[in-house]
Symmetry: C2
Subunit: 246 residues, 2 copies
């Protein structure tokens, strides 16, 4: 997926602030193409204020009169929808939507369509869509703000790229600044640790119980790096030195 393939289409938005918040949400996730179908007010100061630095998205927004016009050039049209409709339609969650968008050829356009603040999209508008996307929500309170919906949907699209990119990254979970300690370094640490614990009468070599196992499990779980292992070694050496003096 190229981020430029995707346009966000907002239908009949009533509150200008939501247009600005949606522009901000889109831009944080890397999307810049906004189409407004018959917005109540646009452009507006409130939209600019709420866009908080994403005013370029508002400046390049396209205003059209109908949804048909907005999606005419799109090979995939996905409409945001609440779950229950009189005529069921292919319904995906946002993650499944992102998978569908990934399968669209790179020279085709995709529209993600969100409806009015109170009433969403009409049945006629939903029938213009290849599939509907429902954001799973609290059955007792599903009142998702329209800009929040744009945030979640564009987040899922962006995450689908992150997952592809991270597939060939190591699974260490963080971009670390130090090399991980080797097993050899950690074994030296544990040997040293055990010796010191015996020296300070914390560990009885004739009845060691599971003390060292528990320490090993704790330390190994944390995947220490070389500097951290050295810090622990240094602490033990300092303990050794102090008890020799006493």
């Amino acid at each position: 997926m190229e981020f430029d393939q995707v346009k966000i289409v907002m239908v009949n938005t009533s509150h200008s602030g939501n247009i600005g918040s949606a522009a901000r949400a889109m831009k944080t996730m890397g999307f810049n193409n906004l189409v407004l179908v018959a917005p109540k007010t646009f452009p507006s100061d409130e939209a600019n204020t709420m866009s908080a630095g994403a005013s370029d998205v508002l400046d390049s927004a396209v205003v059209v009169a109908s949804l048909e016009e907005a999606v005419a050039d799109c090979a995939l049209v996905v409409g945001a929808s609440a779950r229950s409709r009189s005529l069921p339609w292919p319904l995906v969650n946002p993650r499944e939507m992102a998978h569908q968008v990934l399968s669209v050829p790179s020279d085709a356009k995709v529209a993600i369509v969100v409806g009015r603040e109170r009433s969403g999209l009409t049945n006629e508008e939903l029938a213009c869509c290849h599939c509907h996307v429902h954001i799973p929500s609290n059955p007792d309170y599903s009142s998702l703000n329209v800009a929040s919906a744009v945030q979640v949907l564009t987040y899922e699209l962006a995450m689908s790229q992150v997952n592809l990119e991270q597939a060939d990254k190591p699974n260490f979970g963080v971009e670390w600044d130090q090399k991980p300690a080797t097993s050899g370094q950690l074994e030296s640490l544990f040997d040293h640790w055990q010796k010191t614990l015996v020296d300070i009468d914390f560990l009885d070599p004739n009845n060691p119980r599971t003390l060292m196992s528990k320490l090993r499990r704790l330390i190994l779980r944390a995947h220490p790096d070389e500097v951290e292992a050295n810090i622990l070694r240094g602490m033990l050496s300092q303990v050794d030195k102090t008890i020799r003096k006493s």
Copy 2:
């Protein structure tokens, strides 16, 4: 994960509206426990307005003086963070965060901590966290609103439950109102279709090319239900009837 295990902690929030928007975002995703660390103003009319029906979350919000106090009873503390910090810390994306939360015992509490609008969490606050969560964002514009961050993080937590629940659902992609057509029904349809196409001289039985294959591929891709298959059969029968008259 039980939704009640999780608390959302907002640190030093400046804009009351963001507290209300965050309460709304949390509640749409099924989360009700909000802790405010030294908010600039709380309670406030603006927070109530922006909460849009989630005022119960605001009413039950707990105000404390420090992050330590907010997370004292938590077995897992996750702090929202931008990527680059002087001291790297275990860093996960929101989806990985949700996996971590799933692994917490069901009687333990979890805190998801978001920082100030402009400056996020301090290094001291981040050092109170077991891990940091970074929402992947546009490198040129990562200005995610704090309530939008709460929306994305609670969405991922809610989605982790959806995936568990959907694991034993059929993969038909939609809660359909009709039974899917059987292969037998579809084969009868294709036989009928082919016969009709020959009758109207659209298909040359001596040179059929790939016409029927293309029709089959189109229809099968759509996974027709019984009613849809019957509609197509009915259309063909009507064509047959009409051409017999002419």
